[in-house]
Symmetry: C2
Subunit: 333 residues, 2 copies
């Protein structure tokens, strides 16, 4: 019989199809990547993007010219734009101006690099850029949240091949984050403990869902994984905001991320995936709330989202999370 599992943070029920128990080879993974020539994110083509807002670059090199190893630019076709906040209503409907930021973080000058092949030092640099942009935007008026994410592969929504992340800052706390906050707050009210801290403690004691860990971080297959091989990476100790990350943590996070991505690459063959950094909201951050715990969600896109998922908000996961964790653990990275 299939099993229904409840995510302890959001209370979302997921159907784990234990009997189908799909192995990596059961998924028809679309590996094709969109090709763009010339690539607007490659060194030498800096003029194809808006001027950079951040770049880690060689001493003496000029802005918007080669010499960078991480470069952050506004998105040429932004989903949200700079401007004056404004709210309005028409009858029963509410609207507001689409104020915000939409940026692209170019992760490497290497067009063919990705998180599974870049070296750990380069991943550290990407993680610093995430922190720097987050801190910078924390001061911006009218912004409530900074979401950093990554689409890798066409099936995950990537439209450019060159390795990059995106940042969208929104004038509201996005629904998915608000749901986690609400769930974590209710859990904290009941138990006076952070729910993610409890997840880390129980899963480390159990062991079956652990994908990898080091001194400060852990990677695990969540109990109620919505997607096959879904993996969360998070600090083992309580941290509400990614913006407070320190040097030693960056090094450990980069190291574990590299291992996780190489294991996914090894087990699933460069799968399309989404990478989501889930941190505390900007305003919230200053309160250093004891119940939000930042984490990264890595979601391979091996199954399709169809009518059942849209109509129910539930997911059918054909790979048992404990199997996914074991397969990833046993993959030589």
């Amino acid at each position: 019989m299939p099993e229904l599992r409840k995510d302890p943070i959001t209370s979302r029920w997921v159907i784990i199809a234990t009997e189908r128990a799909a192995r990596p080879s059961d998924y028809a993974v679309e590996r094709e990547l969109p090709r763009t020539h010339p690539c607007p994110l490659c060194p030498g083509n800096e003029a194809m993007t808006p001027p950079e807002v951040l770049a880690f670059r060689e001493h003496g090199s000029s802005a918007n010219a080669p010499g960078w190893w991480v470069r952050c630019v506004p998105n040429k076709f932004p989903a949200l734009a700079s401007g004056r906040p404004g709210r309005s209503g028409v009858g029963i409907y509410d609207a507001m101006n689409g104020v915000g930021r939409h940026e692209v973080i170019v992760e490497s000058p290497d067009h063919d690099g990705n998180l599974a092949t870049l070296d750990v030092e380069q991943i550290e640099e990407i993680l610093w850029a995430y922190r720097d942009r987050h801190l910078r935007l924390a001061d911006a008026e009218a912004l409530r949240y900074v979401l950093i994410f990554k689409n890798h592969g066409r099936a995950a929504g990537a439209t450019l091949e060159h390795p990059h992340s995106q940042l969208i800052a929104t004038p509201i706390v996005p629904r998915a984050v608000a749901e986690k906050i609400d769930g974590a707050k209710a859990y904290y009210a009941f138990r006076e403990r952070c729910v993610w801290c409890d997840v880390v403690a129980q899963d480390r004691a159990d062991g079956a869902r652990i994908v990898g860990e080091n001194e400060q971080f852990v990677a695990l297959a969540p109990f109620a994984s919505r997607f096959p091989f879904e993996t969360w990476v998070m600090p083992r100790s309580h941290r509400a905001s990614y913006a407070t990350i320190e040097r030693a943590e960056i090094a450990q996070l980069a190291s574990l991320l590299s291992i996780v991505m190489r294991r996914m690459h090894g087990a699933l063959g460069d799968p399309p995936y989404n990478f989501l950094l889930q941190t505390a909201p900007l305003v919230f951050e200053q309160e250093r709330e004891p119940y939000f715990h930042w984490h990264i969600e890595i979601v391979p896109r091996l199954t399709s989202i169809a009518g059942f998922e849209w109509g129910s908000g539930m997911y059918i996961n054909p790979t048992v999370p404990e199997d996914a964790a074991r397969i990833l653990r046993e993959t030589v990275a």
Copy 2:
């Protein structure tokens, strides 16, 4: 500047990218359909499916043999199965047995038919089958909800070409429906009116978002459409449960659905889409609650769901709903 719009039912904010204003031709629609030979849903191949649980068939024809025009069978690979309910907990985690039903409603003997080409009488028969299965399962122990949906085209998650809908009955009220109930209940508590009734009234008075209507039903592009050309079809008068639909309503619904699907077909060229019947939960139904209003959501799958959507729960819709409604209205059906 883009516009943020809030759905009055779920309070979900959506980004309407007013400046990009994509036209139908801007979407690269994947029209390829999976081919299956032999087709397990075609007449003559009835032995390839589990025995039928419902069939509308010619007088004198045998069960599980040709002669049917609508046929409903259990899914051969069910997401949820018959069995004993059971709940369990392990530490902070909760689980329950995956009790439920998963059925396939074969919409026509014609392998190449679809809602845009089937005649209105055949669509009426499909709608009767939806009602009959819904009523039948309302009595089943441990079931709380019946979700009927349809995946058309590979990009919408279809794995069989033959026109069919699916039914999944769940032992919980699914999250997406519970969110609507909560939102509608809060709206009702505040205004003592059904929110969908208010949507119908305001949108009919305004006109800009109307796709089509007849005496008893209306089709509209919702104010905060998550997806380009998203369309809702619902009764103009308050009805909580689809299961109470009557003969005259079935005829009118079939007629409007046929027009809407032919317009989508004409404007978007046989787009992949999901079709979701959102009705009141089984238990809830008996209370005939004044705040839930059943509706059908038709969601063309023209854009991809990527990291931003997963991480935020928000959607970026590149087609203004009023433009989508106008384009569909102006398409000769």
